[in-house]
Subunit: 227 residues, 2 copies
Amino acid sequence: MGSMKVHQFTRGFWEHEPSLTLGCKRLRPLAPKLPNTTDTTAAATTTTTHSLPFDIKSFIRPESGPIKLLSSDDNKKDPPSPQSQVETHPGGTRWNPTQEQIGILEMLYRGGMRTPNAQQIEQITAQLSKYGKIEGKNVFYWFQNHKARERQKQKRNSLGLSHSPRTSTIQTISLETRRGEVVERDEEDSPYKRCRRWGFECLEEQIGNKEEEHRTLELFPLHPEGR
Amino acid sequence: MGSMKVHQFTRGFWEHEPSLTLGCKRLRPLAPKLPNTTDTTAAATTTTTHSLPFDIKSFIRPESGPIKLLSSDDNKKDPPSPQSQVETHPGGTRWNPTQEQIGILEMLYRGGMRTPNAQQIEQITAQLSKYGKIEGKNVFYWFQNHKARERQKQKRNSLGLSHSPRTSTIQTISLETRRGEVVERDEEDSPYKRCRRWGFECLEEQIGNKEEEHRTLELFPLHPEGR
DNA sequence: GCAAATTAATGATTTATTCAAG
DNA sequence: CTTGAATAAATCATTAATTTGC
């Protein structure tokens, strides 16, 4: 209610844009959730490309309903089945890591990795995908969560228990004690390293793509530092 | 380039391990807090993780970050060298939005958009790229920042406005009073819409699931506007 | 033994905070 | 000071081990 005031404005603004194609990557073979972890049924990536007429209504309010791929030009048949459009994956299941994946990730974590950048995430994902379906975001989130929860676990420990017996090193990271808490930042974690996470697109030009074109294939969070 | 090293690692170690699946898919999430340290009983059979031929160093790009792996040697070397997370992009600067871009973004914001998902970001980026160099992350960050700063501006306003000269008793920042807060999300913003940003898969699985009744109680308003 | 209810763990998102470019 | 960029904290949401009742 109240969002319609914009749409005509916007429409006029960039309606001249030709239909842009965006790749809706759907890789959800829906693992049968076998207890057997050596299930290698994944790796079935079906890339379907849709052409969008860029309708601002669906643009602004995706949550009100499925994004309609109303093609202004009915070139292809493509029956716009209302709910089956995205139901290609029954039950959006979240990533369920296998033991091997967890093992590798923990190993990397113990090795000191905390916030991998795009390149690293890509590599890790490539490796872990051998043991099960996984995406880059899973790796990213895993590190985020693991780091945070290790930290909070440690904090809880140090709070519940007495003072940590360490302290030989007067490090004084100047950690800006939040709320007077003694925030013990993980020593292995370098303070505030700004690793770019974003961008696979910049990544590609490093990998071996000479296209300067902005064709964000994998959009999301991951970006290397432009170098 | 560096991927070859990794892949050898993984291959060399895990790939030949079919016995990794020992019936237990995952560590029990409900751990009764075993006092013994051998918590990883499940993976105990394959606890050769520390003897990997895998070289973490090859995995962790030294150029990208200060990530240092603590060697088996637990020396307290403590790397205070920040390593400067920022490599000061040679020519790469941060996104400098043009007037048109800002205009469109603000229009979208006023139209109700708050947290665009991947598709939307992609589309927006495609459009805005006509007016200047831009990436998906810029759009994403813009919405994040704009939303947050609008909110904080509003909050500051409402707090400052209540500054009546006659009665110094403002509404004490009664944090426990939830619900009808004045400075919460603006009315056009759907309460907690769960838009997936990462993948396109879960695009509308959350359409009509359940009533979103989260009331977002910010349990920690206790920092009186630091900075 | 099995399946529904519980519950701890954790994957995935959003929000708050911070850093730093200009 | 403004604001793009990034991380940390908080929170939502789902899964699977455990418990419970039969």
